[in-house]
């Protein structure tokens, strides 16, 4: 039975495959374009596409010039998110620098800042954000809020019991405190750094009055330390606090706790590379026969259209699947992207993605007459495929009506699967909807392309 099968199809299909492989092997440019651009693009994408916000240029107008205002400034300065660029006399001068694009964020401390703090009123400060880059502005605003909030917490806490700078005080203070310090994790992690879920003290009780210097910004896991008479916040603040409690949001970052942005980009770029490269390469090989006219010779052989198509797709498919491994290896070696789930599932869905790319390429080749036209068409089809995929920036950033369109995009499903398998470590039980969608899209594209191809042959 098997030998019969061999005789029937193997005889014709095999030589055709060998011919294709030889042809691809001789085409130095094709092989190079299969190996170098993907690796290079992966590396450049991973390094360059980084929306992470750090070192925001901060300009300061300090009209108060007091210990309190310096405390606030040092809180900003100590965070890695901001880099103090300069001090200005007036907010007009600051605004001028902002409009030149020399600053990202401005902090204006009014002249009555220290007075209001002394009177235990709420002291307003102004934060000016260059919102041209909305993402930067949003994150910068978030960081500024975090810094001020944690400073507030510290001021509130420090009036009865400030954060100890010297951990050595801790044992004695916990011995003193009638009510034990309640240690709660603080969500303050500034500078986009890995979330330090370091517990910060949340002193609830009273402690004896002693003098300490200004509290440090870093969350200090020690207990209470003596009262800071230098910071004029009332004790009734604590009573208020006791009256209303407080909410501590303990934030856990799952799957990518270091917030490594390249992990997101690499897992997304894989799909883009497979589809883009698949379409360009297959369009190029298909059109070549047409351009040179050898397609007529192929038609004269006894091989059927199906055989010709399979023989065309097979070797390309094999090469592009090798590319998946190449890209995975690059991601692992250069960026340390893990594969937490099943490698087999990843490669299987990757090959579906390759099939989709080949389908697009062959369809393009049937619509065009020359290499140049096919390249041009690919040039115009690939950017939308890459953009409307959620691979390099979130789908939630797109307008509502556009989001469903992305569901037709193979790259979208593959990037969900890649992130699921590589970062979340989930399996087929969770990812089956995307896998099925990807399967459907790939089969549809291959069907369309072979129908078009056959029509052309006939």
């Amino acid at each position: 039975m098997k030998s019969l099968l061999d005789q029937f199809t193997g005889l014709r299909l095999w030589p055709l495959m060998v011919k294709e492989l030889l042809q691809i092997g001789r085409n130095r440019r094709l092989v190079i374009s299969l190996v170098i651009p993907p690796t290079l693009m992966m590396v450049i994408f991973g390094f360059a596409l980084n929306p992470k916000v750090s070192g925001l240029r901060l300009g300061i107008v300090d009209m108060s010039r007091s210990a309190e205002s310096r405390e606030l400034i040092s809180a900003f300065g100590e965070s890695r998110a901001f880099e103090v660029k300069g001090y200005y006399e007036s907010s007009e001068r600051l605004g001028a620098e902002l409009s030149k694009g020399k600053l990202d964020i401005g902090l204006v401390i009014p002249w009555d800042f220290a007075r209001k703090r002394a009177r235990r009123q709420t002291a307003d400060v102004q934060i000016l954000l260059d919102a041209v880059n909305t993402n930067n502005a949003e994150i910068a605003g978030g960081y500024a809020g975090l810094i001020i909030r944690s400073l507030n917490e510290r001021i509130a806490a420090s009036s009865p019991a400030p954060v100890a700078i010297n951990p050595a005080v801790a044992p004695s203070s916990s011995a003193i405190g009638g009510s034990p310090a309640q240690v709660a994790p603080s969500p303050s992690a500034m500078g986009g750094s890995p979330d330090q879920l370091a517990p910060s003290p949340f002193p609830m009780g009273q402690s004896p009055g002693q003098f300490t210097p200004l509290p440090a910004i870093s969350a200090n896991p020690s207990g209470q330390s003596p009262q800071d008479t230098g910071v004029p916040v009332a004790i009734d603040m604590t009573e208020q606090k006791v009256g209303h409690g407080s909410i501590v949001t303990r934030i856990a970052l799952l799957f990518n706790p270091g917030l490594v942005n390249s992990w997101f980009i690499v897992t997304g770029t894989m799909g883009i590379l497979l589809v883009n490269n698949g379409s360009v390469v297959s369009a190029a090989t298909m059109i070549k026969e047409k351009e040179v006219g050898t397609i007529e010779q192929l038609l004269m052989t006894p091989a059927t259209a199906t055989e010709i198509t399979i023989a065309k797709i097979g070797p390309l498919f094999f090469l592009l699947v090798c590319e998946i491994l190449l890209v995975l290896l690059t991601g692992y070696l250069v960026f340390g992207v893990p594969v937490r789930g099943s490698l087999f599932l990843l490669i299987f869905s990757g090959s579906l993605c390759v099939l989709a790319g080949i389908g697009i390429g062959i369809t393009l080749a049937t619509f065009t007459r020359s290499q140049q036209q096919a390249q041009l068409m690919a040039f115009f089809i690939n950017p939308p495929i890459s953009m409307l995929s959620g691979a390099t920036y979130p789908v939630e950033g797109m307008p509502e009506w556009l989001r469903p369109v992305t569901l037709l995009n193979p790259v979208r499903h593959f990037s969900i699967i890649a992130r699921g398998v590589m970062l979340k470590g989930v399996g087929i039980d969770v990812l089956y909807p995307n896998l099925l969608a990807l399967l459907g899209i790939s089969l549809l594209l291959i069907a369309i392309s072979s129908w078009r191809f056959r029509k052309q042959l006939g």
Binding site: P51, A131, I139, D195, Q240, F379, P394, G397
Partner: protein, 368 residues
């Protein structure tokens, strides 16, 4: 001069006859402009989060409502029997919030209540945004349930300049104009040049009396005209689609545009002169023109985030300077003092491309 104009007329006639190329040159930029303008944004709205309310009291519901009323989140309840991270695993939500039992009781009693938030950090940037707004909402909620108290010794009053609505099209919109103008004029220029090389019509040029300089100028002038038409179309479309308007002094923008168009066309001509093969020339423009302009121009991802060893490449990308000019002209309005260097750098790059193209042409002429 007469020869330059003749060469230019010949090119224009050729473009007008090639309907496919012409429509690609004028229509596709608009389509891409639109797609990119609306789809590329890192600012997210409406992120699905699930909430597991183990307390089920009026106060806990008010707390959830604080999340529901923010534009950033779309809140769905999550059954108590299920583990909350399941929602993150299968991607139904980007975040999960677990409100503990006795939330209300402990809060009123004055204890610290620990609310647990799980965030899907696969997308590091969105996770960062979520983290910021989650703690901001918690803070706002605390302030709202204990009114009139100076619980906040310092209050930040945030003002968003230039783009108070945080409309991300204001950021991407002007930049897309620059990107489209990098892509298509250089592509057309490269195609026209490499076609002459591929079809050997360049030999006819060699035997004619036209000099390399006149020939190049004629070509560049022709594609400069096409690029200007494209510029008018894209700026008009950006006015209509993204609602952006010129602010401040428009002269740096206009001067910069003229130089930029010369630069992009020269870039294409340089590629085409160097690669006498149309398909390869397209690939080269795609990689250098599109990818470099897309990634290394500060289009969405800030240049300051690119590692130092890659950043010097960004200084050679013309789109980078033009995007800064566009953003200044349409959003910031800083005028000459803010962007004087951009036209200068563009002019330098443009002359470099032109000289490279000219040198290649001269070499070819001697060889032939």
């Amino acid at each position: 001069m007469r020869r330059i104009i003749a060469q230019c007329r010949k090119e224009l006639t050729q473009i007008l006859r090639d309907r496919l190329a012409l429509s690609l040159a004028l229509l596709l930029p608009l389509i891409l402009l639109y797609l990119m303008g609306i789809s590329i944004s890192l600012t997210v709205k409406d992120i699905a989060i699930v909430v597991q309310d183990l307390d089920q009291t009026p106060l806990s519901r008010r707390y959830i409502d604080a999340f529901r009323s923010s534009l950033t989140f779309r809140v769905d309840p999550w059954p108590i029997t299920e583990q909350p991270w399941k929602a993150l695993e299968d991607g139904t939500a980007r975040g999960a919030l677990v409100i503990p039992k006795n939330f209300e009781r402990d809060l009123l009693r004055g204890d610290a209540v620990e609310v647990q938030a799980l965030i899907d950090a696969t997308d590091a940037n969105t996770a960062n945004l979520l983290r910021g707004s989650m703690s901001a909402i918690s803070g706002g909620f605390m302030a709202s349930i204990s009114p009139g108290v100076a619980l906040t010794p310092i209050r930040a009053e945030t003002r968003l300049w230039y783009n108070p609505g945080r409309d991300s099209t204001k950021y991407t919109g002007p930049a897309v104009i620059g990107l489209g103008l990098m892509l298509f004029p250089s592509l057309l220029g490269a195609l026209a040049m490499s076609r002459e090389g591929e079809q050997q019509t360049i030999l006819q040029v060699y035997v004619s009396s036209i000099s390399a300089r006149e020939y190049l100028f004629g070509k560049i002038l022709a594609y400069f005209t096409v690029a200007t038409a494209e510029w008018v179309l894209s700026v008009g479309a950006a006015f209509l689609m993204f609602g952006i308007r010129l602010v401040g002094d428009p002269t740096p923008f206009l001067v910069g545009t003229a130089i930029y168009l010369f630069t992009t066309v020269s870039f294409g001509v340089m590629i085409g002169a160097g690669i006498p093969n149309q398909a390869a020339a397209i690939q080269a423009t795609q990689i250098v023109g599109f990818l470099a302009s897309f990634l290394l121009s500060g289009f969405i991802f800030p240049i300051s985030n690119i590692p130092a060893w890659l950043r010097w490449i960004a200084a050679l990308v013309p789109a980078r300077y033009y995007i800064e000019l566009c953003r200044d002209a349409f959003v910031r309005g800083g005028g000459w003092p803010a962007v004087w260097y951009a036209p200068v750098m563009l002019a330098l790059l443009g002359s470099f491309f032109y000289i490279m193209a000219w040198r290649t042409m001269r070499r070819m002429q001697v060889n032939a």
